[in-house]
Symmetry: C2
Subunit: 183 residues, 2 copies
């Protein structure tokens, strides 16, 4: 049976987020394949990480497209974005923490474009009066990444139910922890 490349990459990401020094052998076992097969798919550890980044980038771009960030209310677009990003959360969590990649310039450009699109969403929300303006789009973007990572880990470790993933992140990011008095 041929190997499901994406499935291998996703399980690799899930493992490497938590044990970043894991062996190629451990990665293979986690994916349910042999080390030989893993090597046939990815020439080495570098190639594996590159592939992880490539897939992550592609999934994020795709999620951004589906979320239609420039339509409707910004808050709703953000909700949609988080929903679309959920399946890629573990992958994203790995890539955000593993910054060694920024040594290559090719990928850097990809992330920069991604950041720009998300920042544009927050900026649009600010200009529409939906979002507060004392938190910079750059920080909001960063915080989004961080919360997605935290959410992925919390779900992975069973501290938060998977069904609450989107709700928790959206509510915290948009509304914060403070209780409001009803208007």
């Amino acid at each position: 049976m041929p190997v499901d490349r994406a499935q291998v990459l996703h399980s690799a990401a899930a493992l490497l987020t938590r044990r970043s020094t894991a062996t190629m052998d451990e990665v293979a076992r986690a994916a349910g394949i042999s080390r030989a097969t893993l090597h046939r798919q990815f020439a080495g550890r570098d190639a594996l990480v590159r592939a992880l980044e490539e897939l992550g980038l592609a999934e994020c771009e795709s999620a951004l497209d589906r979320a239609r960030l420039d339509e409707g209310r910004s808050a709703d677009a953000l909700r949609g974005l988080i929903r679309e990003l959920e399946p890629s959360a573990p992958l994203l969590a790995f890539l955000v923490t593993e910054n060694q990649l920024f040594e290559g310039e090719q990928q850097n450009e990809g992330w920069a474009r991604l950041d720009a699109r998300i920042e544009a969403l927050f900026r649009r929300g600010q200009e529409a009066g939906e979002f507060r303006i004392d938190l910079t789009p750059a920080w909001l973007t960063e915080a989004l990444y961080g919360l997605i990572g935290s959410g992925a880990w919390a779900v992975q470790d069973g501290r938060v139910a998977a069904k609450d993933f989107q709700f928790m992140i959206v509510e915290l990011l948009l509304g914060g922890a403070l209780r409001r008095v009803e208007p």
Copy 2:
């Protein structure tokens, strides 16, 4: 000149958060010492990571003590906590992502106690009517870790000014991104 153990650990954390597979030699250079000296201080990579965890745990416990989480308004206590945690942020960022440590039981207990104290703060805020109750203390704690990590990275990479660290995290965690109408 004798080596400043804490300084070595902090710079090691700053490096390892971003390049988790960094060599002992790279860690040593980042700390401005030789590999030999690094080895004299920490028997091996394991010992180094253990020491990182021990220091992180100690600094966090100390920060929690100084923040007096059970006094005054919960929101203010949270502000103080984030202020006290800022110097330990890069260390914390590394430890939160590196979950391999949870294999040892000793440390696990330390983190559990820490989590419990922070969760208690959020719970206290909920019971006092300050914090909303539809976000669990466990998730709020997780989110706090995530935001501190994001903040540390954003500052480290120059995307956010260091002086804004506390403000950005507190404001997002407490208030969220949505703009409020003035009461």
